[in-house]
Symmetry: C2
Subunit: 341 residues, 2 copies
């Protein structure tokens, strides 16, 4: 186990890399801690939850809604949770998002931590303090930014991760490579999903590299007024199609990245659209999707990144360098209408 | 109009004392601002809202629930509100609490300000950044602490305030006097509700004195880990009976203060229970209430101020000096069972 304390502007977070869930007892008092997990994780790892108070929610993005928040609050009241209670979210991005959100509003804020169980949550969702729930087709429309006390990595959870979830997580890894880590991009080109699924040490190092890359971006701009926005690469179109078409987050973001590369070609002279698309496909991710352009524009109008008649869009200048660009909604509308053909 | 900038640890708040709602145009851009108010305020002051986007919610504590939050979020989405939108709550404590809460979670946090229209909101609810909603009988069980950009006082709103609302606000004024301002306690003893209702200048000075007293307490302890807890004087029993019996907040807190004075007599040797009760009655407030002790204890078990088997309770040592005391739930149970007889 390696412990690393990362200081953000609002609070410090302890990362426990390559740890085991057993270590949780030394971090959080079982008498004051409530674990939140989903049905899939609970069914696959029942014995790991023994001795802890636990709230189980249905698995999947459909749970990331107010009704689940209401349910958890009722359970916490039933368990007699006080301001001293610590919530620990054990699961993927849905569980970590909803745990962080409930902890931010229950009794005006209690402490919380995460044990991410998917690649996506390990490299992305658990880091940076953003939490939230969806409102209809609008992703993360409601939420807060608040840092967890701790993030504990237990690689044992990945053993039961379905293959589609692996690709899902690699979408965010490829995103990190595109916006800020060209050497990692080349490493990924030389590797394969199967290789990482089997190579325990390589995987652990890749996860840590990505977790620290994201943490560093957040450190520089916790409240997302500047550089943190680069992490939205692929997420503007991605979010607009994800809930409307029931796509996995990684697939939606992969399509979004392919579209952003296409735009980058025109806007910044980016020359490696084909390489990015090839890498996405190498890791089992889609690079095109047939959607209703009108419907997508309707969702984009409500995007959190909109400012007046423009939207802050992340483009690539080259592999490893993302840039922010204010695109007018009308330009975006034209481009979306005739893409990918 | 007097402007005073108060710096809290997390943010600075501009107070506009003795202003008019017309000044709002110089503080907030009508194109980017949405006003939130309740039906009563809107009906009584319709012309003041002309030219502003507005969301009207039903009046009363029953609105301080998740369903109202959902409604406002849907309206904001419909209005195309972005991260640059500013919410301005125009109303009493329910409106300011719900406005602050929605602003804290919509798109992970947008800016907001208040125009408090009741004595209670002017001297208490609008100040300090606490917001929240009720969950069943549990007051403010869900919420955040986040400071508004501005608080604008327009005395014209008080002209339409019903008499019961005046007493409601004076409960918090008397609370402030009890815990930290003995000269104000004596001033209140020498005055009357009718006097303040008529004497515009006296009232304005009293409101400002209370707003600044509360702001000062919050400045010293924004996250309520110490001295801010004194503001809970009367609120522990008060909250436990308020929603269960449908009492007005001020009435419930007045009963809570009377009970806390009774406890103080035993615990700190406080000698002025009778004076506090007389002052409460002088301002039209109750000092006893017949409730089901078992039911009240059930709610107290879930109080946010509980820590293990004790509850942080505010007592008085003398008039103008509140103190924190950890009372065991069992002591509290005995005392509640045989009070007020």
């Amino acid at each position: 186990m390696t412990v690393k304390k990362i200081r953000f502007a609002s609070a410090a977070v302890n990362f426990y890399f390559d740890a085991g869930m057993g270590a949780l007892r030394s971090i959080a008092d079982p008498k004051k801690t409530v674990l939140i997990t989903d049905e899939h994780v609970y069914e696959a790892h029942r014995s790991r939850f023994r001795g802890w108070e636990i709230i189980v929610i249905p698995a999947g993005e459909a749970s990331k809604v107010q009704a689940t928040v209401d349910h958890i609050i009722q359970q916490l009241l039933g368990l007699g949770a006080t301001r001293e209670t610590v919530l620990a979210g054990v699961g993927g991005g849905v569980v970590t998002d909803i745990t962080g959100y409930v902890a931010s509003i229950y009794m005006r804020g209690i402490s919380f931590g995460f044990i991410p169980t998917t690649v996506l949550a390990l490299v992305d969702a658990s880091i940076g303090g953003k939490n939230g729930i969806d409102v209809g087709p609008f992703k993360n429309m409601v939420g807060t930014i608040r840092q967890p006390l701790f993030i504990l990595h237990d690689p044992a959870f990945l053993k039961t991760l379905p293959p589609a979830e692996w690709s899902n997580g690699f979408a965010e890894i490829i995103k990190h490579a595109c916006i800020g880590d060209a050497p990692m991009f080349r490493k990924l080109e030389a590797g394969s999903l199967q290789g990482y699924m089997k190579g325990k040490k390589d995987l652990e190092l890749l996860i840590r590299r990505n977790a620290l890359l994201k943490a560093k971006v957040v450190q520089g701009d916790e409240w997302e007024t500047g550089s943190r926005r680069l992490l939205n690469f692929g997420h503007t179109l991605g979010h607009a199609i994800e809930n409307s078409y029931g796509l996995m987050h990684g697939s939606a973001v992969a399509v979004g990245m392919a579209f952003a590369c296409h735009l980058s070609k025109k806007e910044t002279g980016f020359r490696h659209e084909a390489r990015v698309k090839a890498l996405l496909e190498q890791y089992g991710l889609p690079t095109a999707f047939s959607f209703d352009a009108g419907k997508v524009m309707e969702v984009l109008q409500k995007d959190k990144k909109r400012a007046g008649s423009a939207i802050r869009f992340v483009l690539l200048e080259k592999i490893g360098r993302g840039v922010l660009s204010a695109l007018s909604l009308s330009t975006l509308e034209e481009e979306i209408a005739c893409w990918p053909s």
